[in-house]
């Protein structure tokens, strides 16, 4: 700043000049990863605030002749299209006036009161307006949010989802990683691509890999909507979650969308037996500068209710791709847990974030997932990166494949179900080999560019795409186009696998296709048990009945024994 860089003091103990003498303590602190993160002070006027903006409306509702004519301080004539959609389709109108009249503090206490069963809460919470849901959740501190989530999660057993991607879109690597991820216990696996036109092949590779282990891992390929739906209809994937909804009308309009158009898209999936959930999350509206001065939690509560109104069974939220916006302001990490809770209060499945980088600090990324981890959610991560973060095509997750052991140890330390299990190296290698061999056969039979022995070998032992030999993306893209043109379906893949001695994978893949016909796994919070029997576990047949100690899902018995198996623990008998 100044030309003069000599040290100078004025005797008052304060330093002047360019080279201010620094505290070594503060110099050390300045080196810490957390100082690299972006933090912003609150600015409520534009909505740069996690919870409780002065511009958030007071809860209110008036019903006349079965229609909501006033909600959260606005008359029906002033409703924007989100208000109108929520009022007409999301709320239980019969109970709305009663639900809004309930004292928010007393209802918040009910959320953490083990003597009040979940069903009783849901009866009123599904009739609450966006502002009312916020007012209730605003009463809770973080520990209470965790307690409330534990009771309000729809499905009894918590679970986890992973990302399986490759920066090179390498199909052999994707098949092997999907097989390993399945073995590690994820209920769902999500792929996306570096090059859009590769999607049919990466989806196919992930599907084969995912069915080679336990059987029943549901897969997704997040790409452009029409392609994504077609891949699902072909049986290359089993679910979708990247249909986004927003908390203000302006952001919806920017994407040429309305709640009605989103509902139409959702029905496209549901009518074909494909599981689907929406995506939203704090910060998206601010990112567009269109937050209307409202808090992130209030806008998110509107997203949750739009989802509910669309009849969609679940929602992925908790910041998601804009996570570094809520986490930049005070209370932001609490807010993302609060939005997960509001989703549960709407009686929806929640895939609770923890899926995108937001910090340089290992401690912060661990602390951020504690509410979802300790409470247990339908999918604690939506997705945990089952590949190294450099291969993660969702721009990096909070936890990746290098954290597998640490994440298992946290479950072992705290006796908490985190949705993954310890595995041994030999079994992983076996499964990876089986997956990539199966893919090799399918590629061969379909006349796609061969997967060489060198690639098979590399994929079995790879950590990431850096360990894979080069493969021509141009040739693979051509094969992907052929695959779409020639209408290759999941049934064709089943036939090829069965014919070539991969009966188990063929059975599992057939199980997935049958699952779509039966349609049971499109129920709220549904997953397949993952034992090859294709029994659906959902909020319908396995509802969360937590009511304090001795109830609900508890990590014990066989499941707990599995968590204890740490591969580098000392066995006392060995000494």
């Amino acid at each position: 700043m100044t030309e003069d860089d000599s040290h100078r003091t004025d005797g008052s103990g304060e330093l002047e000049g360019a080279a201010r003498k620094r505290s070594k303590r503060f110099e050390t602190l300045d080196e810490r990863a957390v100082t690299e993160d972006g933090f912003v002070n609150e600015w409520p006027e534009v909505g740069f605030v996690a919870m409780e903006s002065p511009n958030d409306p007071e809860p209110s509702v008036t019903v006349e002749d079965g229609t909501i004519v006033e909600m959260d301080g606005k008359d029906r004539a002033e409703f924007d299209f989100l208000d109108r959609f929520i009022a007409d389709y999301a709320l239980n109108v019969e109970k709305a006036e009663e639900a809004v009249a309930v004292d928010s503090v007393s209802f918040a206490r009910d959320l953490v009161d083990i003597n009040v069963p979940r069903d009783e809460i849901v009866e009123l919470s599904t009739a609450m307006t966006p502002a009312k849901l916020c007012e209730v959740v605003n009463q809770l501190d973080t520990a209470e949010i965790i307690m409330a989530m534990k009771k309000m999660r729809t499905r009894k057993n918590p679970g986890n989802q992973c990302h399986v991607t490759s920066v090179e879109d390498n199909v052999a690597q994707i098949a092997a990683d999907a097989a390993e991820a399945a073995l590690r216990g994820f209920y769902e696996a999500e792929n996306t691509v570096g090059v859009a036109r590769m999607a049919p092949l990466t989806a196919l590779a992930q599907q084969i890999g995912a069915q080679c282990g336990r059987g029943g891992v549901i897969t997704q390929c997040a790409v452009e909507e029409a392609t994504e739906l077609e891949l699902g209809m072909r049986g290359m994937t089993g679910y979708a979650e990247t249909v986004s909804v927003y908390g203000t009308e302006d952001v919806f309009k920017d994407g040429d969308d309305t709640p009605w158009s989103k509902a139409f898209l959702a029905s496209g999936y549901a009518s074909r037996g494909l599981k689907m959930r929406y995506t939203s999350g704090a910060g998206a509206e601010l990112n567009m500068g269109q937050a209307e001065g409202k808090s992130m939690l209030y806008l998110e509560s509107r997203c949750v209710l739009v989802t509910k109104g669309c009849g969609v069974q679940g929602l992925q939220n908790g910041g998601i791709s804009c996570i570094a916006i809520p986490t930049s302001v005070p209370g932001g990490v609490k807010e993302v847990a609060a939005e997960n809770l509001i989703t549960m209060l709407a009686d929806l499945e929640v895939a609770s974030g923890n899926d995108q980088t937001f910090t340089h600090s290992d401690k912060r990324r661990t602390a951020r997932m504690m509410p979802q981890f300790l409470a247990g959610t339908d999918f604690i991560f939506s997705g945990y990166s089952a590949v190294p973060n450099y291969d993660n095509m969702f721009a990096g997750s909070t936890f990746d494949s290098s954290d597998f052991d640490e994440y298992n140890v946290m479950q072992r330390d705290l006796q908490v179900e985190g949705g993954t299990n310890p595995v041994d190296e030999e079994t992983v290698i076996e499964h990876r080999e089986r997956a990539v061999r199966a893919l090799q056969v399918v590629f061969d039979e379909l006349g796609f560019p061969p997967i060489t022995e060198e690639e098979v070998e590399a994929a079995i032992y790879a950590d990431g795409s850096k360990d894979m030999p080069d493969r021509s993306i141009a040739d693979d893209i051509q094969a992907a186009e052929e695959m779409m043109d020639e209408n290759v379906t999941g049934a064709d893949v089943v036939r090829i696998l069965a014919k070539n001695g991969f009966d188990d994978i063929a059975e599992n893949l057939l199980g997935m296709l049958k699952g779509r016909v039966a349609g049971d796994y499109i129920q709220t919070s549904a997953v397949f048990e993952g034992d090859g029997d294709f029994d659906v576990v959902s909020a319908v047949n396995n509802p969360n009945d937590y009511q304090g100690p001795g109830t609900g899902h508890r990590l014990e018995g066989e499941e707990w024994e599995k968590k204890k198996e740490l591969r580098f623990a000392t066995d006392p008998e060995d000494i």
Binding site: V40, W43, H360
Partner: protein, 190 residues
């Protein structure tokens, strides 16, 4: 190091009146957003707007294409100002840039969200890239199909910059004036 005199170039943008549709097929419009060089004089990457503009113009000029700079007050959406700029451009090609540095190359017959090249991670765009963007825009203007300028990707860009980028965007919205037409700007470097 402390004594090293860094060459400082400052940018002066003067309004010349409502921007007209160009007829010169050898021109590319650079669409700048409402707050460019007003709200801030540098991008999120810390590159001075003076240098950014100069590099893009140099990239165009070395391919024999001239640059026109048009400021958009009525819209901050990069897709929109890029596309509107392309419609004003004699070649049908434009470069759009926001104050924070998010940049794209657009073409008049596309839709706002579908562009020729997009550089979404503003904090990662350096001067060399801005020059390459200018050069590619010039090549598109001449009817070529150049190899796209490589896009940088850093998983830690979100943790560091996402909140700041949102903040800048919101600040820039205060410079928006929906009643004001796209305006031709005279560029001088001092």
């Amino acid at each position: 190091m402390a004594q090293a005199q860094q060459q400082k170039r400052s940018l002066k943008l003067t309004e010349k009146g409502v921007a007209e549709e160009g007829t010169d097929t050898d021109e590319v419009v650079i669409s700048i957003s409402a707050g460019f060089n007003e709200m801030k004089d540098e991008t999120l990457a810390g590159e001075k707007h003076a240098d950014v503009l100069r590099e893009m113009m140099a990239g165009l000029e070395e391919e024999g294409v001239t640059a026109r700079v048009v400021r958009f007050y009525d819209n901050l959406d990069l897709g929109v100002i890029g596309l509107e700029g392309a419609k004003l451009s004699g070649s049908g090609i434009s470069i759009g840039i926001q104050t924070r540095g998010t940049t794209l190359i657009h073409q008049e017959d596309l839709v706002p969200l579908n562009n020729l090249e997009l550089f979404p991670q503003a904090p990662l765009i350096d001067l060399e890239t801005f020059r390459a963007i200018g050069k590619n825009a010039a090549l598109y203007a001449k009817g070529d199909t150049p190899e796209p300028v490589p896009v940088a990707n850093d998983p830690m860009a979100r943790p560091k910059y996402q909140a700041l980028a949102a903040l800048w965007h919101i600040k820039e919205m205060q410079h928006k004036d929906e009643s004001k037409e796209p305006t031709e700007m005279e560029v001088s470097f001092e």
